[in-house]
Every structure is written in C-alpha cells, then in structure tokens.
C-alpha cells in the first residue's frame, strides 16, 4: 500500500519565533528551565510562567491556544498541584478538613507552586519543538554547539523514519485483519497480537535502518570532514528573543528575591 503523509503533529511552523535561530531558542529555553528548576517558590515560577506567556503572546503564538493544544500537560500540572495541596503539611489557617485530609493556606500555596513549576518547565522545551524545524535544529547543534555531526545527523535521519513507522503501523493493522488476526477479546490474546504486530514493525524498521545506513554511507556520510549547506542566520529577531528571555529569567529571580520569597529547592 502506498504511504500516505501523516498530518504534521506539530502543525505548521511559522511566525516570529520560527524565524529565530534554533540555538538561541534552545539556550533561552535552557536558561528559563534552569531558573525554574532551581527555584521552588511560587513567585519565581509565576513570574517566569507569566513572562513566557507574555513573550509568546508578543510573537503571536496565542498562549491560550498553545495551552489548549497542550492540555495533557495542563491536566498533569493541575493533578500534581492538587496532590501536593492535599498531602503537604505546610502550616497556616485551615481551609478544608475532610477526614485525614487537611488543606491549609500553606499547603495550597505549595500545591500552586508545584502546578506552576510543571507548566513553566514544560513550556520552553515545547515552544522550541513547535517552532523549530528538526533539520535547522540539527544544523545549529552541529555548527554552533559543535556536537558531533555523525551523531546529530544520524538522529535526524532516524526521526524521519518515525513518521514512516506511524503509517506502517496502521497498514500492519489492516494487513493482519485481512488474514483474520486481530479479533481476540481476551487480554492475553490482545497482548499476544500486539506483540506480534510490534515484532513485525521492529523487523521492518531494522531492515529499513540498515538500508538507510547504506544510502547514507554511499553518499559519503562519515568519510571525513564535511561542510554545511545551510548557513546559520542571526538577526534582530534573535537579539529580541535573547533579551526577552534573559529579562524574564533574571526578572523572576530578582523580583522574588526582592520580595524575600525566593527559595532554592534545597532550602
């Protein structure tokens, strides 16, 4: 059966951030993530998250739509926040008493901090993924950050095969149904069939990987020093993004320390 193009999971890459240099975006995301990971108080996290949302709105990413598209992360953040609020024993006036569960203002604050942290940590990485073409990211990693070209390009080529594998899985399902398999109702029957199908996919993928490796080798991959066809562009967009990110990250820290609420995770 012919391969059909799977609709892009990540959607079209356009807008101001898409034009920014992938390395700038990656380092920016790293900076914000580090600040958030190191800080455990709600103020730093809220300011960092708010700053990110403002930044995204500024480049036309419509943060609300982004958050609805990333609803699983939103849900996960809320659940972890709720769990923390219920279980932490931070003091303060009691708000709710349900048997052994006691929710105080202190525990609610801790829960809120956890939920915000989750969101604020997830957002930068996802933004980079959503706005960056994998090929451009690979170029940046290899040319600017000097990661080994062999490793970066092999990962890039493998990523393309993932898409092929997704299509192949649905073809396999139909092909096996045509043979009369795939009608099990018992859990172990279903597990067995899934295993069989996964095995076939694995065999196909290994062969494909071997052939792809042969193609790459025949095109001189790994033979020696290489050049890069695509120059890296730095523009005013990168300065803008860079400054905004630093302001957000440093601003969140400074504000929180100034208010005296800042707390490192080890404190």
């Amino acid at each position: 059966m012919s391969t059909t193009a799977t609709p892009g999971i990540l959607g079209p890459r356009s807008g101001l951030l898409a034009r920014a240099n992938p390395v700038v975006k990656l380092l920016g995301a790293l900076l914000i993530t580090v600040v958030i990971v190191l800080s455990a108080d709600p103020v730093t996290n809220a300011v960092a998250l708010g700053g990110q949302l403002l930044l995204l709105a500024g480049v036309g990413m419509r943060p609300l739509r982004l958050l609805t598209r990333l609803w699983p992360i939103l849900v996960a953040a809320l659940i972890s926040g709720w769990g923390t609020a219920m279980l932490s024993d931070a003091g303060g006036p009691v708000l709710l008493q349900l048997g052994w569960i006691t929710v105080t203002t202190g525990s609610l604050a801790a829960g809120g901090a956890i939920a915000l942290r989750g969101l604020a940590i997830a957002l930068p990485g996802i933004t980079v993924l959503l706005t960056t073409d994998p090929t451009d990211l690979a170029d940046g990693l290899a040319q600017t950050l000097k990661l080994p070209a062999r490793f970066v390009l092999a990962a890039l080529a493998a990523m393309r095969l993932v898409e092929v594998m997704i299509t192949e899985w649905s073809v396999l399902t139909a092909a096996r149904r045509a043979r009369g398999a795939g009608g099990s109702h018992t859990p172990w029957g279903v597990a067995g069939e899934f295993g069989g199908q996964a095995f076939t996919l694995l065999v196909q993928s290994l062969r494909r990987a071997t052939r792809l490796a042969m193609t790459m080798e025949a095109r001189g991959f790994g033979a020696g020093p290489r050049t890069w066809a695509r120059p890296l562009h730095y523009s005013r967009v990168d300065v803008l993004v860079g400054v905004a990110v630093v302001v957000t990250a440093v601003g969140a820290l400074v504000l929180s320390m100034g208010m005296g609420t800042h707390r490192y995770i080890w404190q």
């Binding site: 059966m1 012919s2 391969t3 059909t4 193009a5 073409d133 994998p134 090929t135 890039l156 080529a157 393309r160 898409e163 092929v164 073809v171 396999l172 139909a174 092909a175 096996r176 149904r177 045509a178 043979r179 009369g180 398999a181 795939g182 009608g183 069989g196 076939t200 065999v203 196909q204 494909r208 052939r211 792809l212 042969m214 193609t215 790459m216 080798e217 025949a218 095109r219 001189g220 991959f221 790994g222 033979a223 020696g224 020093p225 290489r226 050049t227 890069w228 066809a229 695509r230 120059p231």
Partner: protein, 569 residues
C-alpha cells in the same frame, strides 16, 4: 575524494579478477570467479537469476558491503585501480527502496547531503543542487517535503542526490522495481541523459531488459552459481542468452511467459474457433482443475459454487478515503449495525457517516463476478489501493455502499465492513503489496495453516464442522504448486522476494475465499514468479473465485482477461 573541481568528470574503469563472495553459513557462494573489465564510460546491464549475487556485486563495487571478518570476499576488485572503500564519492550507488533513499525532510537538503559529506564548499553546493534536480526533471521548490513525493519521484530525487556528487561510476540496483511504468521510464530517461552527458560508467541491475536495452553498451549475464555465463555487446548477448534469461525469469524484450488462460475465456475461444482447448498451456496442474469452463469442481468454501459470472460483490456510488474515523467509532458502529442486522432490519448506508472526509476517489460503481478478473487501474494517488481495501471490508467507505451478494454473504451480514476475522477470510482474501506485512507465523507451513485453523476454530461453534484433512490437502497442494515444499520449515522473513510474494498469495488462498483482492501482485516480480502467480490466479478463477487486482501490469490484465476499472482518468 574531494570532487571540488568543477570540471566534468570522466568515467571510472572497473576491474574484477576472480572475484568471489561467500556469505558465512551459506552453502553456495553468491559470486564465484567473476572476471570482467569495464572501461571508462562503458554502460553495462548486469543480469542473472534472483539470489545470484548481483546486489552483492554492486554493493562491493560501491564499497558499502559489510564484511567484518574478511571471510566473505575473495579475489580482486578495483575502481580506477583503487579499493572502492577508500574512494567514496567516486562511486554513486542507488538501491530499489524509495523510502530509504531519502535522508532528509526537504528535497534541497536531501540533494545537498552528499555534497556536504564530500566537503564541497557551501557556495558550490546550491548551484549543483539546482543543476542535479533539473537534470532528473524534478521541478519542485527546494523546501518541498520529501515525504510528499511518490515512489518514482523519490527515486529521481535519490538519483539527483547521487548525480550531484558527480560520481565517475554509477551503480543502480533495480532502481525501478518499486516504481510504476511511467515512473520507470522517466527515471531511465534521466539516468540515460546524465550518464551520456558526463561520460559516467554505469552498471545497472534490472530485470526489465527492454527499458535499459537502448541505454547500455554491454550485457553481462550471471548463472545460478554466480559466475559469468555471457558477456558481450547488448544485442548479440541478449540474442545468444535469450533461452537462459527466459529460464532465469528475466523479462527479455517482446516476450511474455505463456500462462494458463482462464476457463471462461477458453470456453469462448473453443466456441468461436472450435480449436484444441489449451494451446501452449504448460503449467503444472492441480488435481481436478484442468476442466472446461462449464464443468467446475464445487467451491471449496462449502457453499454451492457461484454461477460463473454471478455478481459476488458490488459497489454503488462508492467514495473511498484513507482518512478514517477512530477505531473506537468504527467498532461501535460495527456492533450497532450487526445488532440491527440480526433483528432483521435492512442496513442503511449513511448510519455511520460520522464525519464527512474528503474521498480519494468517488462515484465508483462496479461488480465483482465469480470466475472473472477485475483490474483497477489509474495513476499514482488515484485511490486504487484505498478502493481495494474498502471492497475488502478493511476500510469504511465515506460515501455509497459495498454489498455482498446472498451467495457470498451466506450467514453473515451483506456488508463486508461488518464481518469479523473468520467471516472475512473465508469470503474475501486480501493480498497486500508488501508480503511481509501479512506474515504472522514463524514457518511457511504454519503461515499457510493459519487461515484454515482460524476457520476451524470458528466452525466449532457452528453446525457443519470443517474437515481437517481437506484443509491439510489444500495446504499441501499450495506448497507444491508454488514450489515452496522444500521451504515448508523456513521462516517466511528469510525467503527471497519472489518466494515471499508467492507465499503471501498462497496464505490468503489457503482459506479458500470466494473473492481475492490483490494490490500490485506482480510489482517488481521476475518472469518466473509472474507466470506462477498468473497460473495460480487463473486456476482459482476456474474454481469460481473472483479476482480483483490493483495493477499497472497490462500483461497481467491480458493473461487473466480482466475487465478494467480506471480511476482518476
């Protein structure tokens, strides 16, 4: 090899001296004592039976063959006097799988990939990318997604990637095996143009000889032992080696293997010409299959044999699409429709149209008839495979209906989409384009027994028990007819391409379906496998089985006397 110079390269010369290749663990060597000198700029077609080491030879010439312990290789092989493994970039290599010829996700980047690896300066890369794409006739923007290309376009893209590197030796391993006829002709033309302009030495392995005959100077034919049997100028060698090539299954020009004509056509021919029944029919016959069209053995499924030409499956105003509702929705609708069918209500068509998907093809009306063949033709992307899967009950139609006749449906609902696994395989068998997708078991015999086994398990719950001995006889018969007896214990994944194809058809036939649907069954097959497939299908048609084939293969249509349904024209 830094091809930094902008001068037009000249072809490389190849020297093979007593070259051999013996894979560890195999009984016979793939190549033995191969001696050949190929001059600069010479264009060679390499022929031989499948498994004769043609691909191995090309891979060795390309320097990509793995031989970690140095045990496999013997003799001398040089390209321009050097070991090809040290001369990357001087040799361009292409294989037959379009999916793994593409490395990157944008076509411009993909063509540039090889140049980057050769350390070509950036300012030279893009002009060469443009030039290469232009030469293979791929006029698309550089940002165009490689995933969105057809198989033929992917192969031309790969050729552009190789030609941009300006190789002095170009090696093509069945470059058109996965490409339709138009795509193959375009690819062949692009290769011919490129090698003539540059004076590149060319070695091509291909069993479609007619395609490459005008391009090459010289033909080398390998025999079953992996040695050179014939070597000489194109015309003379093809003439001298014709008998051997036909026996090997090579598609020599102006020749189609003689196959068993389907019974209904034989009957017509007998009536019309009052001639002997099987002129030139030389295939081995299964028991009771060589009868005239009017006296047919009972259908193997146990139901009364459908009258020759009776409609088994019909599509009305059908619209088909690959985009399907979620599996949960489909399953729920299937359960609901089955319940209402059991209550005796008629199935209404639009009940399950939850979302209105854009169809790949629509307004299709056709009838599938017992003992007849139906060919679905049309250009790439016209929705042929999608139609086949919809007829087979594997995809949900987006518009219109597929209905099974009372004879075919028997005690199941009249909509193939509602059938469960065992109801499906005894009625409609589907052979997918890639045999490996349908292999479920670890030996050839178990693979063939799988279908009948499912049916037996199912019939334990219903009245007439299935006969184990009859099933075993059918499996044994299929093994023998497809020359797979010696391989009954082998793992299906280890078979050769032609063997896999034969097995995949046989596994579906083992359940004795009344309708067989095949997607490009003869794609890339050599003439021997082709003949065996046609004979097998003709025999099935004689038993009253309906055959539906998605195909580009005109010879197949003629051999099966197929009615044609053209899509997207």
């Amino acid at each position: 090899m830094t091809a930094a110079s902008a001068t037009i390269p000249v072809g490389a010369s190849v020297c093979l001296e007593n070259f051999g290749w013996h894979y560890p663990g195999r009984q016979n060597p793939s190549l033995a004592g191969v001696d050949a000198q190929i001059g600069a700029g010479e264009r060679v077609l390499l022929l031989g039976p499948s498994g004769a080491g043609k691909s191995t030879l090309l891979q060795a010439l390309a320097g990509v063959e793995q031989d970690p312990d140095g045990q496999s290789r013997s003799g001398e092989l040089t390209v321009d006097g050097a070991d090809p493994r040290d001369a990357r970039g001087a040799v361009g290599f292409m294989h037959q799988d379009p999916e793994t010829q593409v490395v990157l996700s944008r076509i411009g980047d993909d063509v540039a990939f090889g140049l980057e690896n050769l350390a070509v300066p950036r300012e030279q890369i893009w002009p060469r990318v443009h030039e290469a794409l232009d030469r293979v006739g791929l006029h698309l923007p550089l940002e165009h997604s490689t995933t969105a290309l057809s198989g033929g376009q992917k192969q031309r893209l790969a050729l552009a990637g190789v030609m941009a590197m300006r190789p002095r030796l170009l090696l093509l391993d069945e470059p058109t095996a996965s490409v339709d006829h138009e795509g193959a002709v375009e690819l062949c033309r692009a290769v011919s143009r490129a090698v003539r302009q540059d004076g590149t030495t060319l070695v091509v392995v291909e069993h479609r000889v007619a395609l490459w005959e005008p391009v090459v100077h010289r033909v080398i034919v390998l025999d079953d032992n992996g040695s050179v049997a014939f070597d000489g100028p194109t015309r003379e060698t093809l003439h001298d080696a014709r008998k051997l090539l036909q026996a090997q299954g090579t598609w020599v020009p102006d020749w189609v293997p003689t196959t068993r004509p389907p019974a209904h056509r034989r009957a017509v021919e007998v009536d019309a010409a009052a001639e002997g029944p099987d002129g030139g029919d030389e295939c081995p016959r299964g028991a009771g299959t060589a009868r005239s069209g009017r006296d047919r053995p009972p259908h193997a499924a146990g139901s009364p044999a459908p009258r020759d030409g009776a409609v088994l499956l019909s599509a009305r105003e059908l619209g088909v699409s690959r985009i399907q509702p979620s599996r949960r929705v489909v399953a729920r609708e299937r359960r609901r429709a089955r319940r209402s069918w059991r209550r005796g209500e008629t199935l209404e068509a639009p009940a399950r149209r939850v979302v209105d998907f854009p169809p790949a093809a629509e307004h299709i009306t056709l009838d599938v008839r017992a003992g007849r063949a139906l060919a679905v033709t049309g250009p790439n992307g016209a929705g042929k495979s999608t139609l086949a899967l919809t007829l087979a009950g594997l995809l949900v139609p987006v518009r219109g209906t597929v209905r099974a006749s009372a004879v075919l449906a028997d005690d199941a609902p009249p909509d193939p989409g509602l059938w469960d696994g065992s109801e499906l395989i005894s009625r409609v068998g589907t052979v997918f384009q890639h045999p490996e997708h349908q292999f479920l078991r670890s030996t050839v015999r178990e693979e063939l027994e799988f279908g009948p086994e499912q049916l037996r398990r199912h019939s334990e719950r219903s009245k007439p028990r299935r006969d184990v001995t009859a099933d075993d006889a059918r499996v044994a018969d299929l093994l023998r007819r497809l020359r797979l007896e010696d391989l009954a214990g082998a793992n299906p994944f280890t078979l050769s391409g032609g063997q896999k194809r034969r097995l995949s058809v046989a596994t579906v036939l083992a359940a004795a379906p009344a309708v067989v649907i095949l997607d490009e069954p003869t794609f890339g097959q050599d003439a021997r496998t082709w003949k065996e497939l046609v004979d097998l299908l003709a025999e099935e048609m004689d038993r009253g089985t309906a055959v539906v084939a998605v195909t580009h293969d005109r010879d197949l249509m003629t051999a099966l006397d197929a009615e044609e349904v053209g899509l997207g024209s």
